[in-house]
Amino acid sequence: MDQEPVIVTRELRKVYGKISVIDGLNLEVPRGSICGLLGRNGAGKTTLLKMFVGLTRPTSGEGRIFGLRIDRSAERIEIRQSAAFVSEDKMFPGTATVAEIIQFTRAFYPRWRSDLAEEYLRTFDLSLNTHAGKLSKGARCRLALLLAMARGADLLLLDEPTAGLDPAIAEQSLQALVSLAGQQEITVLFASHQIAEVEQIADRVCMIEKGRVVLNDSLDELKSSYRRVQFVFESKPPAAAFENAHEDGRTLSLLVKRNPDEVVARGTSMGAQSVDVAPVTLKDIFLEHMNGAGK
């Protein structure tokens, strides 16, 4: 198996005027992984995905997909032959029907899976004769996923793939995505604000803030290495006992990476009456990093 990462960026930068939307971003996404891209609004997720498919050109730095450079026109076309991009808005030319849009997309992808397209048409309840301009937001989203998943791409770049879907269809879509990725060793990089969704299907998580990667690790590694430590003191906790700790009355809680024993011992020595060490959710880790990055 080729172990070279599918996506590699080195000091990638995108500047609009005086604003750095992507600011020296370094990222690697291994082949076959499902990577959730998390970040606040304006963190640079959409710009990053657009740069990967050549819709936006990097200002400086290097980015490679399948070893192909994202700043070279000819190589960008090659990237798009192996990758599928679902944009945040999921808009299609309004004058074309669903059938015409499928026909158009299929022509560019020799590995198009007609069987999957037909299956998703049924699952997603899409009518071939409907004009794209008359599709609801949810239907556009379902069509976008169909087009991305049926084209036989090796890489799926999805920007908010389930935004606008009802929970049942969102669940179906995610299951279809996981199933496809499992069968064909597809690499998936998807931006989402739905942390639960990322936790459900991703095996890697990348968090970006202000155009930089603040965390990039496997989900299992993250969840096993972080712990929430909570101390309860007899009275107000000692001032500045721990950096980045959250104080609530007599309670002090903090997120600890790796070995929590040292922190527990320190809290106990400060007079904590009780100590609780608990596993954390991805949301806890996300909030901790976003709050930390925002400071």
Binding site: K50, V53, L55, T56, R57, S73, I77, E78, R80, Q81, F85, S87, E88, D89, M91, F92, P93, G94, T95, A96, E100, I101, Q103, F104, T105, A107, F108, A132, A144
Partner: protein
């Protein structure tokens, strides 16, 4: 042609077909309307003016069916309506500077095909559609003339239609450039302003009449003296090529 190339053309067709159909239908209806209102005595109801000619020039024309049909169709209706089709075709499906997502352009641009090819096909198809609309309606002018007991030369009709196309390409090129550089509202306003400017140059300033795209489109030199206005054709096509080249440069370099 590979399936993907075929689809690039097909996609351009789906983007523009409703404007083409509507434009062609309007032009055909105008031909039908011209013959339905054809006067029993053309001499008495002869037109008083034309876009490319002065009132004196119109008066001096032989008051026959050839002059009547040319003044009505090639000297007026076709020249007035073709620019509206150009406005619609220049904006449909082109990736605009803003609102690219709303137009579905992001989806199209994420396909494995170069922006240059997508835009070029779209631009060329627009010219083909204008040409087909102009040629079909102009040939209908010849075909329907016997219904009112008259005749109009097919050759003459084809030359006039081709001159109309040669004239409209410069305007189309400018519109394509506008559609890639300004937003939708601005595009409409600027398109209308350009039409108005051309009209002003034609009607109000005699000295500028020879520079008018509308005059080239009417083919008055060919009608009056049998001369092909090669200078005007070259200028119009040259303007179109420069505008299209600039548009392609912008489209290739823009971030979406």
């Amino acid at each position: 042609m590979s399936p993907s190339n075929t689809m690039v053309w097909y996609k351009a067709w789906t983007d523009t077909r409703r404007y083409f159909r509507l434009g062609a239908m309007i032009l055909i209806a105008m031909v039908v309307g011209m013959y339905m209102s054809y006067p029993g005595e053309p001499d008495k109801e002869f037109p008083h003016g034309a876009i490319a000619l002065s009132v004196e020039q119109v008066r001096s024309l032989p008051h026959d069916a050839r002059s009547y049909i040319w003044l009505h169709w090639f000297g007026n209706t076709l020249v007035v309506w073709l620019p509206f089709l150009a406005v619609a075709l220049a904006s449909a499906g082109m990736p605009p500077p803003g609102g690219a997502a709303a137009s579905g352009a992001i989806y199209t641009l994420s396909m494995p095909v170069s922006r240059r090819k997508l835009a070029s096909v779209r631009i060329v198809l627009g010219i083909i559609e204008m040409a087909v609309a102009a040629l079909v309606s102009s040939l209908l002018v010849c075909a329907a003339a016997p219904l009112v007991g008259q005749a109009f030369s097919v050759r003459e009709s084809l030359v006039h239609a081709l001159l109309a196309i040669a004239g409209i390409v410069s305007f189309y090129g400018v519109l394509v450039f506008l559609s890639t550089t300004v937003g939708e509202l601005h595009k409409a306003v600027l398109g209308a302003a350009l039409l108005f400017l051309y009209g002003m140059l034609t009607f109000l300033a005699n000295g500028f009449r020879r520079f008018s795209m509308l005059r080239l489109m009417t083919g008055d030199m060919y009608f009056l003296r049998g001369e092909i206005p090669w200078g005007g054709i070259c200028a119009s096509v040259g303007v179109a090529l420069v505008m299209v080249w600039l548009s392609l440069l912008i489209i290739e370099r823009r971030d979406y």
